[in-house]
């Protein structure tokens, strides 16, 4: 007879939703196991190398769906390891959005005012800091100057980056070699481990089954270190509580695959997916115009030619984040960097006479790569993504050994979403082409569909059981003891980078999960300080904890 391992809390995924839960629950006294499908790398392991098999393909996931492709983390620390660490808060109007359901999408208990203390708490923990103009890369400065020239404002964005350590190498998507990016590897995760949480890399959860004692049995495969298409082992763990934080591209897939054993899923599992309304434009800067129109000059005499230099997005323009405007017409614009490969294939040739994304004219465009400026639009999409039949394992049929797979999502942009993209594209064009500063084209959606680096909402919180999979404490409707704390819980597009909001919601979910554990006989308390011991954030949320821990 074999015995199955058991734990109080089984967490699926180690990004923001998993790491925050692992820390608070372990610190509170629960036995915590985290299963992470990707590898466990740290600063010295992160390579500046495009070679397939180097750190960036090991820790990154690129799933091509039907009409939508998802980019995300695949490692201990999840998205925080591969992202650009831009950490704005969602504007006030976002929480009042109705989307396509004719009523407020967000739970009544959540607004910018009620979420601000949780934003503060995460900002203390990572930490998140403001940038000044001395921190702004050439690309960010150029975008700010272009916005100013076009009559707009522009702001350095708050970031989770230690400025003193940053080298502006722009290899953030391969993991930060210099520990400048304040990923979860530097705060919540080591604090969770110090409190006894076990993190198991290369463990990909497949399915959940309800056990007779009211808990759950979680089945996983152990993934080969190099060839992620291969499972080298498998196993099961029993848990009183399961927290799904596998990311918005994977959490609903695990639940859908488990429907035959768990029982019927809420209708919203695997529906209402949002790509955060994302859209990219590439501008090819006229270097002389950058000097003459904007007065820009580098120390070495060049005006710009600095696409490669920097730390992802550092400047955003928020003039269209106006709550008095109708839904789907509000968006933010952010200067961004994408490395070659991802960042070149979808860029289109302005005024092309032949193919726009490959061929002779595209090659000429790529040769001007150092003069590119990528502008990222985050608009309001219509939550139109739907997940179809789950693949046999994981969240995609893996094509390459690492990184590239084909997933079950379908996304057909509605007129509302298309309107948002058109509005933002037009404004990018107005800003960047004014007085001949550059030529601009949006990235094509013809190759891999639309795309998002911020998948959201595929298993979302809400007050309406028909259109939300989770209640406002993040518990899966009809399945007590299963919680979801990742980006899939966010109800819809945020018009800004979502990481801080995902993290704030995960923090906010903790008192309720502690309460659920206590109801199951686990001796656990809520109230751990920040991972480094600060307590201001804890004080700030104290007034909300009692209501969140209600039965």
């Amino acid at each position: 007879m074999t015995s199955t391992e058991s734990t109080d809390v089984l967490i699926v995924g180690s990004g923001f939703g998993g790491a925050i839960a692992a820390y608070h629950l372990a610190a509170g006294g629960a036995k915590v196991v985290v299963l992470e499908r990707g590898p466990w790398l740290e600063g010295k392991d992160f390579e500046h190398d495009f070679l397939l098999g180097s750190s960036y393909t090991r820790i990154f996931d690129f799933v091509v769906g039907d009409g939508m492709s998802l980019l995300g983390g695949n490692c201990v620390g999840g998205g925080s390891v591969v992202y650009f660490a831009a950490m704005p808060r969602a504007p006030r109007f976002v929480f009042e959005r109705k989307g396509g359901i004719g009523r407020r999408m967000w739970p009544g208990a959540i607004s910018r005012d009620t979420l601000d203390p949780w934003y503060d708490k995460v900002s203390e923990a990572l930490p998140v800091t403001k940038q000044d103009w001395n921190d702004v890369s050439y690309a960010g400065g150029l975008f700010a100057a272009a916005c100013n020239h076009a009559g707009r404002t522009a702001n350095p964005v708050p970031v989770a980056i230690d400025k003193a350590l940053c080298t502006n190498c722009n290899w953030m998507m391969a993991g930060c070699r210099f520990d400048a990016k304040r990923s979860l590897l530097l705060n919540y995760l080591p604090a969770a481990v110090a409190n006894g949480a076990q993190i198991r890399p290369m463990h990909e959860v497949q399915k959940l089954v309800r056990t007779e004692d009211g808990g759950y049995r979680v089945s996983y495969n152990v993934i080969h270190d190099v060839d992620y298409r291969v499972a080298v082992d498998s196993g099961q763990i029993d848990a009183k509580i399961v927290i799904l934080a596998a990311g918005a591209g994977a959490t609903p897939v695990i639940l859908q695959r488990s429907a035959d054993t768990l029982g019927e899923m809420p209708d919203a599992v695997g529906k209402y997916f949002s790509g955060n309304g994302e859209r990219l434009n590439t501008a090819v800067i006229d270097e002389d115009k950058a000097r003459d129109l904007l007065g820009l000059s580098r120390e070495d005499g060049l005006s710009y030619a600095a696409n490669q230099i920097g730390k992802g997005p550092v400047v955003a323009s928020w003039d269209d984040l106006d709550g008095s405007l109708p839904e789907h017409s509000r968006f933010s614009l952010e200067q961004l960097y994408f490395p070659p490969g991802f960042g070149t294939i979808l860029a289109q040739v302005p005024d092309a006479t032949g193919p726009t994304w490959f061929g002779t004219e595209k090659k000429e465009l790529v040769e001007q790569w150092q003069s590119w400026l990528t502008i990222f639009s985050m608009t309001e999409d219509d939550n139109e993504g739907v997940f179809g039949t789950p693949p046999p394992t994981g969240n995609a049929y893996r094509i390459s050994q690492q990184m590239l797979g084909r997933g079950p999502i379908t996304y057909r942009p509605t007129a509302n979403t298309l309107f948002g993209w058109e509005q933002s594209d037009a404004e990018v064009k107005r800003i960047m082409e004014k007085d001949g500063l550059s030529k601009v084209m949006p990235w094509t959606n013809d190759v891999v569909g639309a795309y998002t680096v911020h998948p959201l909402a595929s298993c979302r919180i809400g007050d309406d059981p028909a259109t939300s999979a989770l209640d406002d404490r993040h518990e899966l409707r009809g399945h007590p003891g299963i919680f979801v704390t990742d980006g899939s819980a966010v109800p819809g597009a945020l018009t800004v980078n979502p990481a801080l909001t995902i993290a704030a919601l995960a923090e906010r979910a903790m008192p309720g999960i502690v309460q659920a554990l206590r109801e199951r006989g686990v001796d656990v308390t809520y109230g751990a300080p920040s991972p480094d011991g600060e307590t201001n954030g804890r004080k700030g949320v104290a007034a909300q904890v009692r209501s969140l821990a209600r039965d």
Partner: protein, 183 residues
């Protein structure tokens, strides 16, 4: 390893994605449609054949399909094929381009396969992902060189001590909150 005829067809496909100069006057796979080296010399075939890419096993059947599409296309357009090279290689560059555009267009039933080949062909040029990047740069990799990708420091890591104009270049949004976020 691919049979020679399939290697030629694959090179011709990669050359359609990122075109380059002929390697020699009698080069048939590379059409010579652009100045400077393209995806082929950048390593597209080597990249597509690496186990890491995961597409090597399907290449032979894809090349057969591509040559069949080229025969059909040639019939349809009245293009005369030269029997000494595979049909796709025999097509002039403009016709290769038109055919590839059809295959990668939304709605084509085989789109996924052709897009995968296009992605790796592009990646070979932009990143040289079949070899360590510092070696690619040292060897004068055509794509990284054409893009003026900067050299790393002696330890193989990139650092840019000069990175900022270091001055305010725009007014801030009037409703910026004390945390630096939008209101």
């Amino acid at each position: 390893m691919l049979p020679d005829n399939h290697t030629m067809t694959l090179e011709a496909f990669a050359d359609t994605i990122v075109p380059g100069e002929k390697r020699s006057p009698d080069d048939r796979a590379i059409a010579g449609a652009a100045a400077g080296d393209g995806a082929v010399v950048a390593g597209a075939v080597a990249l597509l054949l690496t186990p890491a890419a995961g597409v090597a096993e399907g290449l032979e059947s894809l090349m057969n399909m591509l040559d069949n599409h080229a025969r059909e296309y040639a019939r349809e357009r009245g293009v005369e094929l030269d029997g000494s090279v595979p049909p796709f290689v025999s097509l002039p560059f403009e016709d290769r381009t038109n055919l590839v555009a059809r295959l990668v267009a939304p709605g084509h039933p085989e789109k996924d396969g052709w897009v995968a080949l296009a992605l790796f062909s592009n990646m070979a040029f932009d990143t040289g992902a079949h070899m360590p990047t510092h070696e690619a740069i040292a060897a004068g990799h055509p794509g990284l060189t054409a893009m003026k990708f900067a050299n790393p420091d002696a330890d193989g890591l990139w650092r840019f001590p000069a990175y900022s104009y270091r001055r305010q270049l725009s007014a801030l949004h009037p409703h910026t909150t004390p945390s630096g976020s939008p209101e």
